[in-house]
Amino acid sequence: MNLAIFVAGLALAILAARPQSSPGLRWAATLGLLAILVAAPALSSSTSILFDALTATCIAYGWNVIGGFTGYASFGNVAFLGLGAFIAGGFMSRQPGHYAWPWFLAIPLAVIITAIVAGGIGIVVLRLRGHYFSIATLGVAVAMPQVIQADAAFGAHGLFANFFGGGLPLNFPLPEDVQVGPLTLDGNRVFLYELGLLTAAIGWLLTWRLGKSKFGYGLIAIRENEEAAEVMGVDTTINKSLAYMLSAALAALGGAVIGYKLTNMTTEAEALFSTTNNLQMIIICLIGGVGTLWGPLIGAFVLFGLQEALRTVSSNAEFLAWQGVIFALLVVLVVLFLPRGVMLFVMSRTPLTWRVFARNLVAHRI
């Protein structure tokens, strides 16, 4: 059933993204997509993979702001994903010395704090360009888990004593079941899923507004030619910093909701900071189409739909064992054969033939 939802969602998203369709049809497709996704828990018995796809969509929208619109290839947004998850976890945890705050307080606060941290990091790393920027952000991703484990700041006698658990896991209960009229909404299966959907919707809405705003045009100008943008009166430093903060905020939002689902986070939570998480947001944008409104959503649906399809044709254990290899292989193949993503076929009238892939393959050879 999840596979059917992915396919239907993909079809509607492509319909909504097509510039040839009439505005009425595009809006109808968008609302139809939203309706299917809202109703998904009623249609499917397990919403776990849909939840993963939607939170990944939100994080990918975040990367899209800095990597797609602004053209700064960040390789360290996973740091903000993990930081957001841990800050929200620190506020929600019921361990002694923690606040046990509800999610609607903890998650927005985590997003804001992460954005501020990203602003501070951005002031330094955004002075760099090209390779240097990418590696510096990769360095942020390598350093962040170590900062979270740092005894000096977060240890027993540190500045924020044991905020990140100090070796003990942060834990908090799953959301309780919600009673809406005669319906009981399962806390884990329905409520958390809808929260994941909300993050993706926020990512979409922000990107939609961004594409129409002066700020968004400023970012695109920076991507195309930073010196020219500066000359034309775009304050590049402010614009870049805000884009980086927005990007980090969306990563933190997705990360905090993923962390909420974990209910138990240890300071060694390598999964949150993993290379796979780091690559995933970029490859989702690449599969869909970098710097576009619908690209990240389409990319996430293709990636997770593919995973779901593989899981149905093979045994689950077998799939999990080869997951990393398949994912890495997919990264290499997408970069070589489809660097402009599915949006290449959606935006223009390029027919879907093997010739297109062959042309992409040799387009940038020396």
């Binding site: 990418s134 290379t275 690559l279 490859i283 292989l329 070589l336 940038h364």
Partner: protein, 280 residues
Amino acid sequence: MNGLLQGCILALVGLGFSLVWGILNIVNLAHAALIMIAAYLTYFLWSLVGLDPFVSLPLSMAVLFGIGYVLQRCVINLVMGASILTTFLLTFGIEALFVNLFLRWFSADTRQTKPIYANVSLNLGPLYLPYTQLGAVIVALVLTYLLYVFLDRTRTGSSIRAVGQDRIAARLMGINIAQTYALTFGIGAALAAASGTLLSATSGFAPNAFSAFNVLAFSVVVLGGLGSIPGVLLGGLVFGLVYEFSGTYVLAQRDVVIFAILILVLVLRPTGLLGREGYR
């Protein structure tokens, strides 16, 4: 002292990375995977055939040269004209592919190549110098010198430097660009293999232990200055010392210290300590 010994190996890690970056203008994020392949090759040659790591060194360098040559010739050459994001993602994808394959095949167990002289040290008064470390330093210094001579004195070396300086002019002079790129990447991979072999003998390793070497190699090259062989050596030694001191005195968060230095250098002196235009 230990920091200086470690620093020579770090310099070797940075050397291949610096060559590829300086000539091809690619930040090769698959560098750590190449080091990993060589480390496993050395380990299995030692445990199955009984070959000493210092004897198998030329062999693993030759194998990795082949892998690197084919990788560049058949895959990476396809994206040489594309954006930075593309080459980054491609090499990062290749890295993730190898690491995941090795995790599948060899599990995450920590291994180490331990020849009979592994725990024997040379005693110089208060100093204890393990023989494997000492041998590693000699190999690292010799290879650094050989690369310098190769680039500076031979015809092929000149053509590699010419391609690095101006690709179009080099092509007009009759240099085969695609082949020179593949050759350069192969040499970079062979140098990575040398550092992988030495690392497998001086410390324990597992497939996912290598990813830090990409950022480390980058830091070494940036600190020393891109395009300078003595610079890489200096950068490696400085980072070896930093690693040693931050491990003992500051905190366990070594990578944070390395990263802070990297950022400071990038912002204050982007050309590094000994960097200049072109490759020397």
